[in-house]
């Protein structure tokens, strides 16, 4: 495109300074893409009016799917016809976000052919985000994606695109194969992912250890967080090396352990593993000396949500320890039992965590067939109303 881009004095401010600028990037695309050029116009207008000119649309998608495309329109279509329809695709990312450069080029080529060429790698859902498609382009772009081995992700009241940390691919702390588990769950629940049948969204996130690099505890209805049952592995010679190199073990390790279960006598480190709550602190500070134990698996937590308006809810322990071996039958059984109960009685837009608060943890456990265990108590005295069948019977 040889004619000059439209004038955008307010957006230009965002190109100043040494940091990357989305305006700079949109301008680059705008030289060859009219939708990107229209985006500049509408954005500049939004900065003038101090209001978004995008609006939601209800009725777009690809044949057979209830998720993966989010309808987006301009509320100034006469003024900015290039972006009158500007839908978003969520494209299911590979586990752990691993690509070859060839695959990245393929994705970008597809998107330049069909849409604005603007992407968000990646959205906070984990998906590859393609920004700005016309309604007509939806099906042909989808066909190109599937021909290259990609599929849409979730949106609406369905299983959302599962995501995981890089896990054993790059991280020695991974207590299970997050990449495989994420991939397995994604493939096992294609129907639940593409055909929304729940009261609201349901997110799986897989973290290999309690560092929880995908923030699953805050962002997923089902957090699968790696953990271990036996003792932290200690290399005493390496601990001494850390001490010799200036780590104040008493101050930086022992006193910062949340349960104060570590002792250091200047020569050897003694951990009372029964009291360890697997916070990862000591391991994070001395990665060469300490590592998670050998009996590894995951803790399953349920019920987080990060709402825009109400208070955030963190997920809480449901299954303290689960072995994470393919085909992950126990995990699937639990997920399906939850969907069955919440699916039938949950209100529209009620996340499973809110549902549990409404019906009560005791009733919920009863319905999905789990026994209450002490690990489910999130804080002392926060869940006082778990009743045990035997006690009830005695009262009657």
């Amino acid at each position: 495109m040889s004619e000059k881009l439209r004038s955008t004095p307010l957006l230009d401010e965002l190109e100043k300074g040494p940091w990357p600028s989305f305006v700079k990037e949109i301008k680059k695309s705008a030289e060859t893409n009219t939708m990107a050029e229209g985006t500049l116009g509408q954005l500049e207008r939004s900065y003038m009016d101090k209001i978004s000119h995008w609006k939601h649309g209800g009725l777009v998608g690809v044949m057979g799917y209830g998720g993966g495309v989010i309808g987006r329109y301009s509320d100034l279509p006469e003024e900015f016809p290039e972006v009158a329809a500007f839908h978003t695709y969520r494209v299911n990312q590979p586990s752990g976000w691993f690509y070859t450069s060839d695959v990245l080029r393929t994705l970008c080529d597809i998107w330049e052919r069909h849409g604005s060429g603007l992407t968000n790698m990646h959205g906070s859902t984990g998906d590859i985000i393609f920004l700005g498609s016309t309604t007509e382009a939806l099906e042909p772009c989808f066909a190109d994606l599937t021909a290259n081995g990609f599929d849409l992700g979730g949106s609406g009241s369905d299983v959302r695109t599962p995501s995981c940390c890089v896990g054993p691919a790059r991280c020695e702390w991974a207590c299970y194969d997050t990449l495989d588990a994420c991939n397995d769950i994604t493939h096992s629940y294609q129907d639940e992912l593409h055909r929304p049948a729940f009261p609201y969204k349901y997110k799986f996130k897989f973290a290999g250890c309690p560092n929880d690099c995908v923030a699953s505890v805050a962002r997923s209805d089902m957090s699968i967080i790696g953990t271990w049952k036996d003792d932290i592995q200690v290399d005493q010679a390496k601990v001494q090396e850390y001490a010799a190199n200036g780590v104040d073990i008493e101050a930086e390790i022992c006193r910062l352990c949340p349960t104060k279960c570590i002792k250091w006598d200047g020569k050897s480190l003694d951990i009372d593993n029964a009291e360890c709550v697997k916070c990862m602190h000591c391991i994070n500070v001395m990665p060469k000396a300490l590592r998670p134990g050998k009996e590894r698996g995951a803790t399953i937590l349920i019920g987080a949500k990060a709402p825009i308006i109400g208070g955030a809810l963190l997920s809480a322990v449901f299954v303290p320890f689960l072995e994470m071996e393919p085909p992950y039958e126990d995990l699937k059984e639990l997920a399906e039992a939850i969907w069955d109960f919440w699916g039938e009685y949950g209100k529209n837009r009620e996340r499973v965590g809110e549902f549990i608060q409404r019906v009560g943890l005791g009733n919920f456990l009863d319905e999905i067939g789990l026994e209450p265990v002490p690990e489910m108590v999130a804080h002392p005295r926060s869940n006082p109303y778990i009743f045990f069948e035997e006690e009830l019977e005695e009262d009657e």
Binding site: S157, R195, G343
Partner: protein, 82 residues
């Protein structure tokens, strides 16, 4: 009532979406519950209804729509620009 086929259940779902169109939006579970009530829980269950919904959507008679949650609705009318 005798055992209905997936097609028959899908057809009954379609009829329900048609009569409630413009009055009430239905979710997949609403359709499922209505069918279990209509045909009886011995004849159809959640799994069977899932197949019927798949058939209803894949035939193009209904689509998924999003109004702050996912619903099963009639497709937009031709020319309405939806």
């Amino acid at each position: 009532m005798s055992q209905p086929t997936v097609d028959e259940v899908a057809e009954a779902m379609y009829d329900l979406v048609k009569v409630t169109h413009g009055k009430k939006n239905l979710k997949a579970m609403d359709l499922t519950k209505a069918m279990i009530e209509k045909f009886g829980e011995d004849a159809v269950d959640k799994k069977f209804c899932k197949l019927a919904i798949r058939q209803l959507i894949d035939s193009g008679r209904c689509i998924y729509s999003y109004f702050g949650g996912s619903f099963i609705t009639l497709p937009p009318e031709e020319g309405s620009g939806g």
